[in-house]
Symmetry: C2
Subunit: 292 residues, 2 copies
């Protein structure tokens, strides 16, 4: 995945492009090739593997999704948004470069994701129609997971939450959009690219939704309990900002119990796949227990 991301972010212009400016590319690479955990690519690849697919198409879907995730971090870190100086222990893109370049690097990564997704190598002729239809579905799914009714919408709700604290339902909607939508898409996209049945796709989508909620809950817990050193970014920002989270609302004990329930729910969805789903099942547990 690192090699593929690096190759997709090189200075070779694709057909239909002119030349990618060096400074812009450097900022894009800074925002992507930074030791990220690659959770979303991992989920795409493992979900695809569950249905016997481990080819280039899944790798490209995974890379496209990671570009979208990294774009969102770059924009989220901007002074007008969260105003963060550090990300994974390194200067954020607008600190390492400048604000304008960070905005454009984010825009470029988001755009590049759709280039990557729509450029999966052609399938065998007799499968071309269904392969193209699946690719379009992957494009549409990513656009909806990342757009105003998904991640970007969740960011907008997050801005509002700083002015008027949302209630419990509002917090869940915010988190489902802001971080949940891409994680859910990761799991569903793996099933789509592997040409899984509609029932299996739905099941993976639900699995993604459950671990998406678990991921955010674990994140909110870590903000309270972890050190900045372990996280590679500032912690206790939520409490300092008076931010409404489920942890702030119900406390850490409740959050840990809730987290256990979400993991159990996610793992139960994988039961029909037996041992084949062992890695995904372990991932669900890891997401809840992670230390950074």
């Amino acid at each position: 995945m690192e090699a593929l991301l690096s190759r997709l972010l090189d200075d070779k212009a694709s057909d239909g492009e002119i030349a990618r400016p060096a400074a812009l590319l450097a900022a894009m690479r800074h925002g992507v090739l930074n030791g990220g955990k690659r959770l979303r690519p991992f989920l795409v690849l493992e979900s695809a593997a569950l249905f016997g697919h481990d080819g280039e198409p899944a790798m490209r879907v995974a890379a496209a999704l990671e570009c979208v995730h990294c774009y969102s971090l770059i924009h989220d870190d901007l002074p007008a948004m969260d105003d963060d100086d550090l990300r994974r222990g390194q200067p954020t893109v607008h600190r390492a470069f400048d604000e304008a370049t960070a905005i454009l690097a984010g825009d470029s990564l988001l755009t590049l994701a759709f280039d990557i997704l729509s450029d999966v190598p052609p399938a065998a002729p007799r499968e071309a129609a269904t392969a193209a239809a699946r690719q379009l579905e992957l494009v549409r799914g990513l656009a909806r997971a990342a757009g105003p009714g998904g991640m970007a919408g969740g960011q907008a709700l997050d801005l509002q939450a700083e002015k008027a604290a949302p209630d419990e339902a509002g917090i869940i909607t915010l988190q489902t959009m802001k971080t949940g939508a891409l994680i859910r898409y990761a799991c569903e996209a793996g099933a789509i690219v592997a040409n899984a049945s509609p029932a299996d796709r739905e099941r993976l989508s639900e699995f993604g939704a459950a671990i998406g909620l678990a991921f955010q809950l674990a994140d909110d817990l870590l903000d309270v309990t972890a050190t900045a050193e372990a996280m590679g970014k500032a912690t206790r920002k939520d409490a300092a900002a008076g931010k409404a989270t489920l942890v702030a609302l119900h406390g850490t004990d409740w959050a840990r119990r809730q987290l256990g329930g979400l993991v159990a729910q996610a793992q139960a969805l994988l039961e029909p796949y037996g041992e084949r789903a062992a890695v995904l099942s372990a991932a669900a547990a890891f997401i809840a227990d992670r230390e950074n």
Copy 2:
């Protein structure tokens, strides 16, 4: 086009979305439904009409492209970029709302464009394979025209140009990417969606490239000669910023002659289509002679 854009920017969540936050949608609508000239949609629709297509698919491609254009204006107007207060006589999005909302509204419009493009209604079964392949090509073409090797890359070159003035070749590359790529795509996309032959697609792409250059040259001329009132935005900004343009390099007389040459070149490309291309041909002339 206005009705379609308004419908695409309503608060009805598509399948796969949650709810679009009201403030975000309002900012997106402010940035799109603002009396724009709709040049790019016009070019998509007229290029498609040249090959006998005037259906919903072309309308959607046109709307998607306009969303990308409007996102680029929203981000370009930001304080970290051009820092503009006015756009078409109205407050820019970050002035009417706030900076964070403007960043997210731009991000959302860019993402929505790919949702719109990948959601063209399905074709008749026996045409499904080629229709899906065409749609993917439209997605890929838009991503490349708008991404780091296209419009966003041009914006990055524009930032650099403020620090070190580019030479003539550098100015042309910058403009070909920053404004040319989307205009070229508009014309080529019309031919693609109308299922035109590869030769016709190439011809329309070259037509788009020529009028793209003409558009930017006319823009640079207007910056020198027009009033802020006629333009609905500040003028003489280029000269004030010491910006390198072909007009600054060669003067207004040269620019007017050059503009005439580009229009003639564009119109010559349309000759094989005779009277059917009358509207596109007039558009090429309009782009050079426009007063705002």
